[in-house]
């Protein structure tokens, strides 16, 4: 949600990695920026933690297409952007989720990254909204009373996937993610009584 992004910039040139980091930072793209010089570096960093975006010089991939597809499988949620400053075959570029060229204005590079990073959420969420729907309140009540997702689904006669979606929306709207946090929220909003929690 409002978690900050992890962006990896992979290029043999420090001028490029440092320059791009500074430009993106200056355009208010708040993220943790990591640098890598080789495919090996990228692989090591991907074992550490989920990386949202990798901006990579295609020459690092060019003769390592197989290693690249292994990497893509290793971290399915990572999006790959080719950073182009010389000619590459279309076939190579089609391995990436998007591409930018070194002549693109910073605004364009920033917007490509933003789009890739938030694409999924824009579909699910939209802007937080103060009020929960009646159905969401129902789900929240049962959740706060200690019921598991499956139990809530059975009680309300809906699928577990629907419960999970409600749960995501509740967290998005309230800003509270854990069940114990949501329980406090429910008490404060008088959706449940304290006795049923601490008793």
């Amino acid at each position: 949600m409002n978690r900050s992004l992890n962006i990896l910039i992979a290029d043999p040139s420090e001028l490029i990695t440092a320059g791009l980091t500074a430009i993106l930072n200056g355009h208010n793209l708040k993220a943790l920026y990591l640098k890598a010089e080789s495919l090996d570096d990228i692989q090591r960093l991907l074992t550490g933690k989920s990386i949202d975006i990798v901006v990579v010089n295609p020459s690092l991939i060019q003769n390592n297409a197989r290693a690249f597809s292994t990497l893509r499988n290793l971290s399915a949620q990572t999006r790959w952007i080719a950073l182009i400053y010389s000619y590459y075959e279309e076939r190579l570029l089609s391995l990436f989720d998007a591409s930018v060229t070194v002549n693109d204005p910073p605004e364009k590079i920033v917007s490509v990254i933003r789009e890739l990073a938030t694409g999924e959420e824009a579909v699910n969420g939209g802007m937080p909204d103060a009020g929960l729907s009646e159905r969401e309140i129902e789900v929240l009540r049962l959740l706060a009373s200690g019921m598991a997702t499956k139990e809530i689904a059975d009680a309300l006669n809906i699928s577990t996937n629907t419960v999970i979606t409600h749960r995501k929306n509740i967290s998005f709207k309230t800003g509270i993610k854990s069940v114990s946090g949501l329980t406090i929220y429910a008490v404060v909003k008088k959706l449940i009584t304290l006795g049923s929690v601490t008793g």
Binding site: T17, L32, R44, L45, T47, G175, I184, V187, V188, L194
Partner: protein, 266 residues
Amino acid sequence: MTLVPPNQRDFFIFKKRDIMKIAGNINLTADTRLSDAVSGNPFLLLLLEHFEIDLPLQEKTLGEIAAEHRISPELFMTFANLYLDLHHGIDPQFSGDDISAILRFLKNSHRYYSEEIYPEILSTIGEMNQPGNREETVMIKKFFDEYFSEVKVHLDYENDTVFPYILHLYERLSGEAGQGGIRNYSVAEYREHHDDIEEKLDDLKNLLIQYLPMKEGRLMRRKLLFSLFELEHDLKIHSHIEDFILIPLVASMEEQLNRAQLNGSR
């Protein structure tokens, strides 16, 4: 109200701007006077403590202090830059020789969490427990107790399993330890551990800021929030260091050892 003479006021403004510059966008170098950096950003005090560097700093530069404490200047600067700006880039080019400084830092951070900041937060919550706030305090206390015991499990796991493994790996590579002794463990097991910890902390902050009514205890709520922000800031840096510096470094040490073993068996 005390009136500040104009010339002195200007001096004060000048000083403040100077400090802002340091806190905002200085690039630390080995020649930066460390006391200047700390004056501009008090969070650096925690960095010093985690590295076991005591005040006063005298006129020493960052490079001098790093050398005195057996920390490579690059490592020290990378960590310090994270304290100054969480979004500062990390260039994770470190070597096995940095392991002992990194582990020292992380272990001391753990001690700060479990022996200092968590107890401090617990006692602030205790002080919030006034007649008008009973119900709210009980809930917050329960939430925090649960959260703290989860954190403890995580810290113990790192102290007892992960760190000894890494140290042993380093000793194997540098020839200080013999064959064997490493249980079948890989750093790949040790991932995605902090997300929960940060999530609950975030929840607590949001509850206090957005939702929790309290009839009394404005001061305690503010103190609690300040402590939570202090903890959150340090925890974020802590997980950045583990995820983006320690784990990649250990992964490359594992590779190195595997290669050495492969060559040895040929």
